[in-house]
Symmetry: C2
Subunit: 346 residues, 2 copies
C-alpha cells in the first residue's frame, strides 16, 4: 500500500488491518533471531542456545506524557528506547519489539504515522526488529504498550541482585537532566495556558529538553563492558530516579550503600536550569527519573577499569545491609535515602 492509495487521512478509511499493513509495509528484518515478524497470529523467533530476555512497559497519555509538548515522533522513539534500556540493564542486546497502541478517536493516519516513524527510527538506530503488535481505538487518550525481547549468553546476564559488600557503585552519563527538561516544558505549558498565544521560550535549553524528549539507551556501555572485560555484579537502568534504583539493587543484593552527593554526575546545563528553578540538582538526580542511564556495581579490584572512563562515574560503594542506604553530603552528613522517585500510583 502506498502513501497515495488513500485520499482520506481518516483512520476509518483504512480499518485496523489496512492501518497495520500501511504502517508495517516495508519492514526489513535485521536479526538472525527473527524468523517471522508481523503478519501472522504470532511472531516466530530462534535464539540458538542464547538466553531470551523480555521486558514490557506501558505509557498512558496524561500520566507518562503530555501531547501538548511531546511531538508524536519523539513519543514513539521514547516508548521504544525505554524498553531497550531495560534489556541493556540485563547486559543483553534488544533484538525484537512488539508495540500495541490504543489510539484516541481524534487521531488521523498522519498522526499514527508520526508515532510509528519514531518507533521505527528507534528500532533502526538500535538494530531491533519490529515484529508485531496490536492497534485498536480508544474512547479516551493514547496508550502505548511496548514489549522488547533481547538475547545474551547465559553467563553474561547481570541481575539486580549480585552486588557484594565494598563493590563500587557506578553510573553512566549524567543525571537529573530529563527531570529539569520536564520542569521547563511544564512551566512553558502553564504559562501558555494562562497567558495564551505566547511562544514558549525553549532556546538555550537544548540538552535538558533532549534528555526529556529524546532519551537514548546506553547500548554503547554494553559494548564497553565487553571491550574492558567488565561484568557488573548487579545492574539496573535509571528510570525512576537514582534513589529508587539504588533501593532495588540494595534490596535484591541484600546490601546497603554509601553514595557521595558531590560525586553524582550532573551536566552543566542541568545545574544551571536547576538553579533557575530553585531545585537542588542532586534532588533532581535522586528523585527525578527518566534519565535511562545505567546504575551498576563492580568489584573494587576493577577500579582501574572504570575509574578512567569519561562515560562512567564511581559514586560510592556497597556496605552491609545493616548499615542502611545513605548519601554523604559534602559537609559529611549522612542522609538516609528514600525512594521518592516517580510513582504514578501514588
Amino acid at each position: 500500500m502506498s502513501h497515495d492509495s488513500h485520499r482520506s487521512d481518516e483512520i476509518s478509511s483504512l480499518g485496523e488491518f489496512g492501518l497495520i499493513s500501511h504502517l508495517t509495509r516495508d519492514l526489513v528484518v535485521k536479526n538472525n533471531s527473527t524468523c517471522k515478524g508481523v503478519g501472522d497470529d504470532a511472531a516466530v523467533l530462534d535464539f540458538q542456545g542464547k538466553r531470551v530476555v523480555v521486558s514490557t512497559d506501558l505509557l498512558a497519555e496524561g500520566v507518562h506524557f503530555n501531547l501538548v509538548y511531546t511531538p508524536l515522533k519523539h513519543l514513539g522513539y521514547k516508548a521504544a528506547v525505554v524498553n531497550f534500556s531495560d534489556i541493556y540493564a540485563m547486559n543483553a542486546h534488544p533484538r525484537q519489539l512488539l508495540v500495541s497502541m490504543a489510539i484516541s478517536r481524534r487521531f488521523t493516519i498522519s498522526m499514527v504515522e508520526s508515532l510509528y516513524s519514531g518507533i521505527r527510527l528507534a528500532c533502526d538506530q538500535y538494530g531491533v526488529d519490529l515484529i508485531g503488535g496490536d492497534t485498536t481505538s480508544s474512547f479516551t487518550g493514547l496508550t502505548i504498550s511496548c514489549t522488547a525481547i533481547g538475547e545474551a549468553p547465559a553467563d553474561e546476564l547481570v541481575y539486580r541482585g549480585g552486588a557484594d559488600k565494598l563493590d563500587l557503585i557506578c553510573v553512566t552519563g549524567d543525571l537529573g537532566g530529563a527531570y529539569m527538561g520536564l520542569q521547563l516544558l511544564e512551566r512553558e505549558r502553564m504559562l501558555f495556558e494562562k497567558e495564551g498565544n505566547i511562544q514558549p521560550v525553549l532556546e538555550g535549553y537544548d540538552y535538558v529538553l533532549e534528555r526529556q524528549l529524546k532519551p537514548e539507551a546506553r547500548r554503547d556501555i554494553i559494548g564497553l563492558f565487553r571491550e574492558l572485560g567488565i561484568r557488573p555484579t548487579s545492574m539496573i537502568d535509571i528510570s525512576d530516579g537514582l534513589s529508587s534504583e539504588l533501593m532495588h539493587l540494595c534490596l535484591n543484593s541484600d546490601k546497603g550503600c554509601r553514595i557521595y552527593a558531590d560525586k553524582i554526575p550532573v551536566h552543566g546545563e542541568t545545574q544551571r536550569v536547576a538553579e533557575e528553578f530553585n531545585i537542588d540538582p542532586v534532588i533532581a538526580a535522586l528523585n527525578g527519573g527518566e534519565d535511562y542511564e545505567l546504575l551498576f556495581t563492580v568489584p573494587v579490584k576493577q577500579f582501574e577499569k572504570v575509574g578512567n572512563r569519561h562515560e562512567l562515574t564511581i559514586i560510592g560503594h556497597m556496605v552491609d545491609a545493616a548499615d542502611g542506604l545513605k548519601m554523604i553530603t559534602p559537609q559529611g552528613q549522612a542522609i538516609t535515602l528514600e525512594a521518592q522517585g516517580w510513582n504514578s500510583l501514588r
Copy 2:
C-alpha cells in the same frame, strides 16, 4: 506481603512497587523455559533449541469490554486466554505471559486483585508462567496489554499461509455463541439503563454467556493434532469472525475458498438466542467474532482423521485464488465473503 498488612483498600497505600509485589507475591514457576520471572528489569527465558513464538493484544475499556457486565476476574481470564489462543493458532504452546495495565483512578486494591486473580487462574489452567509486566495509573479507563510467549519445534509451526488448493477447511467447536452472548448482555444493559433497578434476565442463557465472558483457548486441539498425526497446512484463531479469518488464510496462502453455510457448526442455544434476536446464526458465526476456535486446513488425504471427530467440523475446501472466497447457501447460491468482522477502528 500478606492480605492483612494493609488496612486500606486504596492503591496509593501500596504504591506501584508495593502493588506489584502484592499481586505477584506467591507466583510459582511452572516451565523449564522460565529462568527468571517477575522482579528484575526483564524476565529471562531459555528455549533450548525450540522456536519462540510471541503475540500481543491490547484491550481497552469501552472498546473491548464494558465493566457494567464484565466481572473483573472474567476480564483478566479472557485477556490472558485470547493471547494463548494466538499461540495455539501457530500450533505452539504458550509458556510465559507479560501483563501491563493502566488502572483507572477509581480502582481499589481489591478490584486489581480480582482482575489479577483471573489472569493467574488462566495461567494456572494453561500451564503458563506470569513473568512480568507494568502497572500504572490511567486518567481514564482501564487498559490491559498482554504479551504471550510460546514454544514449538521449528517443523511443527503452522502459519496462515500454506493452504493448498482442495485442502479441507475445518473449524473446532461451534461459532457465533460469543456474539449472541454479547447481544444478550447489551440488551439487558440497555434495559437496565432505561428502566433502572431491574434484575437482568440471564437464566437459561448459560452457554452463550460463558462463550462471551469466559472463553477458552483450544489447547486440547493442539494435543489432538499430535495424537492423530495431523499437521495443518494453515491455521488461524477465530477472534474477529469466520469471514475475516478465512480472508487471512486465503490471502496468505494465495488461494480462494468454498464454504457451505449449513456445515458451519452452531450450538443449539446459539441458534435459539439468534432466533430470539432475529439474527441469522450464520451471520453471527461469520461476522461475530470472539469465539476463539481454530480455523485450519488439512490435505484431502487426511479426511478420515478429521472427519470423525466431534471437536472438528469440515466446512469446505480451498480453491484457486481466481475463484474467489464464497459461501454456498443451502439453496445452492454462492455468496461472496467479505470481512465484516469486528473492527474497532471503523
